[in-house]
Amino acid sequence: MYFDYLNALVFAAVGFVFVFANLILASVLRPKRKTDVGLETYECGEETIGDAWIQFDIRYYTVALVYVIFAVEIAFLFPWALVLGDAVANQGAAKGAGIGAFVLLEGVLFIVILFLGLAYVWAKGDLDWVLSYRHSTYQPPELRAKINLPQVKEIEAAQEAQKAAEPKPAPDTEEAA
């Protein structure tokens, strides 16, 4: 009863062994030349510049997300486009179904909704590489004034003033006695 899945186990085991067997075999067979040329990145790689552990700009992620809109769109539109011709002409697999107009309308609706996502990103200004306050969300005038951040001098002056306003530490008690 429990051996119903033995073939799956064998498959997994063979797959596991296959990977490591190849790696071991390659390390035994391949020539080892640790010269400068031998250690160079091979063919398709780029020479790295600096460390990979840097903070990437958040805007790359925005662009990646926008890309997903189109990726999803393509993934769904390909099968749709393949049957659309038949459906509209009422032939082939869709013969007699008479759903041409319905299918076309649904496809258009789908694209329109997806493009709303793009329009949203555009209107919010996330397609501009240099972000500006103009495009960011609406700020009422009294809040807009606050965006003018204080200068370092002003901050220091405020800190000095605060320090001066604080009461002096209590005088030495022994002296007072």
Partner: protein, 505 residues
Amino acid sequence: MSELSPYLADLPRLAPELLLTALALIVLVWDLVLRGRDSRKLGYLTLFGLVGTGWLLVQQWHAPTSTAFGMVVIDRFGTFFKLFTVGALAVVTLFVLSDRREKKHGVGEYFFLLIGAAIGIFFMVSTNNLVLLMLGLELLSLASYALAGFHKGSKRSAEAALKYIVFGGLSAGVMLYGISLLYGLTGTIDLAAMGRNAADGSSISLAAQFTASPVPVAIAVVLVLAGFAYKISVVPFHFWTPDVYEGAPTPVTTFLAVASKAAGFAALLRFIGALFMAEGVEVAVSAYAQRIGLLLALLAAITMTLGNLSALRQTNLKRLLAYSSIAHAGYALMGVAVMTSAGFSASIFYLAAYYLMNLGAFGFLLFFEGVTGSEDVDSLKGLGWRYPLVSCAMVVMLVSLTGLPPTVGFYGKYLLFYESVDAGYAWLAVVAALNSVVSLFYYFRVAKALFLTTVEDKPRVLQPVLTGIIAVLAVFTIVTGLFNRPLQEWANAGPASLHIPAAQK
């Protein structure tokens, strides 16, 4: 055009979903047109659309059970939870509008995301198709992740979103794996079809597979249950709950604690009902169902105990309510564990009770955040005398959450206890009763802070809309506790429409 009829005839049955979708898109576009100015307008539009959706749903309540596009089941069970969601969302929208700490501009996405989550719930609670169920769940989850992190500048909010998305992604994966196993075992993704052998041999019933080899069936079902357990925050899948509830904006926490949790329960009830209890499900599975029931009963006992004991030590009211919501998930799970039609009804009734009292409690929390700017129980000191109406309403909620008469919470717990004793889970009822005693302690710490301390004289902050909502919910909590017949009949309609036969006595 007559050939089109099968497609177009099904569309009107999805009218509530279509209306919500259109509403979401209109809110999004209008927000862009307004350039983020005056988001309150969008809130009012959302309320208006929700009223329309509610009206359509009430129409559907009276329509006979039907299936749209072979995937979406329109039955009373689903419609009950959809109405539930619409009601909860309307209150949450009002919460957002009257949240004193929320910006009035540039928060149009708030409403768009809330409606999006509701659309997810709509499909999640009304389908037998596991793939559509998963899609609905993911739509709900994605909107919830964004909502939890809605206050982008806040560290706690960002932490909440991150924790939520990590836990959510993991459990979605686990659940999908379970679903794929179920599909592999039975050859169908339709829950109703999994219950029995197909006449043409296109699918095999779960019972047949269980007789042949029980281990894969058990693994598949438990994996799917794990996904649901995450959504309704049952131990051991509850870790995200306190942090997310605490970090998310309070209206969002309300939505997660009420609508999202109820949707998880609805999907769980439909899953268990269709696989193990519906008419025509074979006997081998019924025997298996008893074991799943025992597992759920154990989880319920652990969940309520852990939730209540952890809540004892909380000083932050929001976190306290988060642990209390874990405990209440445990109570509601009792009705699922007994695996009878009456148990399901009791569970649904308890969720409705939970809806009333938890919306009220979170409304109260929002009110006092607006007054004091703090979530600590200690900061409530003496506020009861300055805001008597809201505070008295909160005491009603606390009484109901504890499960004392004459509130709806008492009757809900009574039904659950009765059904679990009736089904032979007397020990579970004892554990739940002991837990209620424990919960009395921390709920009444809040009441004590409100009323049993001295008054400080400060100017009052008026929040009429919130006050109104909380007062109305408090009145409903008492009224439905005393006259619970209609609510009970609605709750009974659920299992009936899932084709679960009433127990023979």
